[in-house]
Amino acid sequence: METLTTTDKYLDLFDEKQKEITQFDAGFVTKLREEAIASFRETGFPVRKEERYKYTHLEPVFDGELSFEFHPRDIRFDDQELFRCDVPMLDAEVLTVLNGFFHNPGGEALTQLENGIIYGSLKEAIKTHPGLVEKYLGKNAQTADESFVALNTAFSQDGIFLYVPKGAVMEKPIQIIHLLLSDKNQMVHHRNLFILEESAKAEVIICDHTLSPQMFLTNSVTEVYTGANANLDLLRLQNEHNNSCQVTNTWIKQERDSRCQHGTITLHGGMVRNNLRISMEGEGAETSALGLFLTDKMQHVDSYTVIEHHKPHCTSNQYYKGVLDDTSTGAFNGKIHVHPDAQQTEAFQTNNNILLTDTARMHTKPRLEIYADDVKCSHGATVGQLDTEALFYLQSRGIPKDESRLMLMDAFAWDVISKIQQMALVIRIKDLVGQRLRGELSRCNNCAMHCDE
């Protein structure tokens, strides 16, 4: 029998299920899918020897036996009762996505506020606001550039849509909770589209969770547009179980004088790959990208960032940190690309990692490509152990070694956490990270399912 390549497997799946996949599509969505699958046929699944996927081998995972739902299954559960991804003191608008589909039984699929803000199901938005969605969907995330974006574009059915019109301010933060719950191993592609027009402002928190012990593979795409002078805070908290695999693709396009902060905090998850592309396409845009991961056992977390400085006077700051225990592994590959036009760019990048054992591994690779001559750019990467001098200092004051180590790790993580803008989140994440470092945080803390037991 002829063995199928991973690329063939997904091409076949698309051919076989095309009718089902495109059943409720608007014409422009079907067209996007067809272009995406053509592009995937061209580029194929990233193979091991490809430099940017050198440390994260996703092929075996995508090759596994995984079920795939093209329509939401009727799963009854009361998310309020069963699951709380709570952030005390944060009064947020909570949107739930279950296995890739917007989940609000009996409620509205899409909410429109008086000031014109729209949020809810992307699928619904395609139906009711096709013109608006068509203008942005698939325009930023490049299928030719990233096979996982191509796969997502071809297969995804739903996700969260957020539209903040010119000058509008989304008063409450939006909290999107991605839940995975199934009785069989499952693959999920979901898609988020956030549009902030000129001078709009919003804050979005994405929480990724698993609610059952099955193997889950998530390939998500989040496309973000921030118009001129718009302001967005986007934070992702990853806390899936360690038998799951997650590929996130976040593509952010920033116009003139816009400000964006993107953060990724990874507490749990078996294999995690986070692709972040930020493209600054107007003068004076400002962006910061934060990343913090804490791994143990066999976990693997790979952060891949590309910051594109297209225009003058833009600023970017990247702070990525990792703490690796046991035999966990990690990678950071961060590129700053300053185009010839982008004079007076300020671009900074730091990546610091702590290995707690001899068996943990971290690969870090900063990449600077600078084609303008009047710029300030810097980068620094370190992989080391906890500072033994500091450890001894704490111990010499009567603080037990384990406690001293935790204090140093907390301090290390605090450097990233303290840069988050929303104070309620800072407090909550500091607490979660502290618990995680102490080994007290089970991903199931907030969940009544207890699927580990």
């Binding site: 111990q395 004051r397 009567g398 037990p400």
Partner: protein, 252 residues
């Protein structure tokens, strides 16, 4: 209180301490002087429990207990305090959290109840007065951005807070201007009681004008080659270490 018996210490196969003998009783102040590289800081580190070297021979007994069996934190909790020559900067660990964790860890060891945040802040204020330190320590990370003098004053402040039985001050005077030196010495003098003891490690006699020692020992090439009272320090100030070196060489 402390008895060091024929202590030999190696760092990577090189002998740094070659048989130290020293007895310190409660209420006493001992000064250990000596030229650079004589092993003064290694002795301090050995007492506090650093592990980058091997004790090849000898013993350190503290209140009858063999110190080599105690971790650095347990030595501290038993009442040993090391004032660091170079206090370490620890970004991200707040001074208040550090001091409170430290003090409560000591209290737990002594089966005392943890101090509440309010009581702790009150105690901090009291102790700051005792050692005449006016630096604002809240909202700062441990030693981060502290000037040289502030770092040393901070060590004495920690000593006041933790109330050790045996304080070892490693080159606490180095890098201090005359005002800071006076504050640091007053702090040490104010904390002196008949129940505790202090070992002052220094290169210069200057500090001993402010803190009057009961005994002065000269450390040279890993041995205590001369002991005396405070007049020995004066002699060293006037004549330097050369005459001691010559005396030692002559004996060999």
């Amino acid at each position: 209180m402390l008895e060091i018996k024929d202590l030999k210490v190696n760092i990577e196969d090189k002998e740094i301490l070659s048989g130290i003998n020293l007895k310190v009783k409660a209420g006493e102040v001992h000064a250990i002087m000596g030229p650079n590289g004589s092993g003064k800081s290694t002795l301090a580190s050995a007492l506090a429990g650093r592990d980058y070297f091997d004790i090849t021979e000898g013993k350190i007994l503290y209140e009858g207990k063999d110190l080599s069996e105690l971790s650095p934190e347990d030595r501290a909790r038993e009442g040993i305090f090391l004032g660091f020559q170079y206090p370490v900067e620890i970004p991200g660990v707040s001074m208040v959290n550090f001091l409170r964790t430290s003090l409560n860890s000591m209290r737990e060891y002594r089966k005392q109840e943890a101090l509440s945040a309010g009581d702790f802040l009150k105690l901090m204020r009291e102790k700051k007065e005792v050692v005449e330190i006016d630096s604002d320590l809240t909202n700062r990370s441990v030693n981060e951005g502290f000037s040289g003098g502030e770092k040393k004053k901070n060590e004495i402040f920690q000593m006041a807070l933790l109330e050790p039985k045996l304080a070892i001050l490693d080159e606490t005077d180095s890098g201090l201007d005359i005002d800071a030196l006076r504050i640091v010495s007053n702090g040490v003098n104010n904390l002196r009681t008949p129940e505790n003891a202090t070992i002052i490690i220094t290169h210069y006699q200057r500090l001993l004008d402010y803190i009057v020692p009961d005994y002065v020992h000269v450390l040279y090439k890993g041995r205590i080659v001369k002991s005396g009272d405070k007049s020995l320090a004066k002699e060293l100030e006037e004549h330097g270490y050369d005459w001691i070196k010559q005396e030692v060489e002559a004996k060999v």
